[in-house]
């Protein structure tokens, strides 16, 4: 048996994620990633042989898992507005009440490899579809549900940007309060 790992994968992905989310792909230096994880740069290359690219892929996969958990209430038998409210509660945690940026924003800038940006794009698509399904369950037509779901993602991403620009995280929580009404009108 080899040497025991000093940090488990889940924690590594979470800490890498914070650096990528805050700095973007290009801005996330190996030094910053290394320091956040608590491993030397060379040790990170042992876990991620293809380097920064593999780290970003792992982060997006980990983000996808968190997103699935946040969206899980939407497929429950809860009242739709309540289900959306529960999604919002989980999102508030994932985004530290508006203090953390979203990978859909910061990892889709020019400078990120194309496949990373494509992977982020699929996340956005998946998220919209899940919210649209909830809107349909609330009685909306397919077209109206798609419109509302896209509007919801627009507000989520926009609130995170504005919260960051104004240095006022409360913008995010206030926006979340409007989402049940938007999706389950």
């Amino acid at each position: 048996m080899g040497r025991a790992v000093s940090v488990d994968d889940e924690q590594i992905h979470a800490r890498l994620g914070e650096v990528f989310r805050a700095n973007g792909y290009a801005g996330a230096s190996l030094s910053a990633l290394s320091e956040a994880v608590g491993l030397q740069r060379a040790s990170l290359y042992h876990r991620f042989p293809t380097g920064k690219h593999a780290m970003a892929t792992a982060v997006l996969t980990s983000v996808e898992a968190r997103l699935r958990q946040a969206l899980e209430p939407l497929t429950s038998d809860l009242d739709v507005a309540d289900a959306v409210a529960e999604m919002c509660t989980r999102l508030a945690g994932d985004y530290r009440d508006g203090r953390l940026s979203c990978v859909l924003d910061t990892m889709t800038l020019t400078g990120a490899p194309d496949d990373i940006r494509a992977q982020a794009g699929r996340l956005a698509q998946y998220w919209i579809e899940a919210m649209a399904a909830a809107a349909v369950r609330a009685g909306a037509t397919e077209a109206e549900a798609a419109r509302r779901a896209r509007a919801a993602l627009v507000r989520i991403e926009g609130a995170l940007v504005v919260a960051r620009a104004l240095n006022d995280p409360s913008v995010f929580d206030q926006m979340l309060a409007e989402l049940p009404g938007l999706l389950a009108a």
Copy 2:
């Protein structure tokens, strides 16, 4: 008299701006900035003695001037909904119909110097105040106008992020169509 300039300041600021907006502060390399402007790196340092930081400051100042132009209809004697529609037309041009990102998003990531982020924050504040004034003119209370104005900026920034993530610029133009109704309800 010295040698004539080969590129005027306005064009330089516009081209630097495109690079900063697409790549963020950290991702905007001197090489990329130099190539976009059509001057060697050393020539950029002649125009901007303190380097990248001065370029970013100049870009934000230039963006502020463009923003003032876009917001100018809001202080005209037009019907408020028409004024907002005119603002939207101008914004569509500034953001190339959703194909260009916003400095409030990409220049506020960790990695940008604090004063650059603060300058961007003041831009956001100014923008919100101008839209709130329009909402007041449309009959909203101060509190309601502030709420609508912030919601409008949230949607603008969010639509740009989602358009980029989905690689679908039309998200931006579709969002713009909703702004007159939002601000001048």
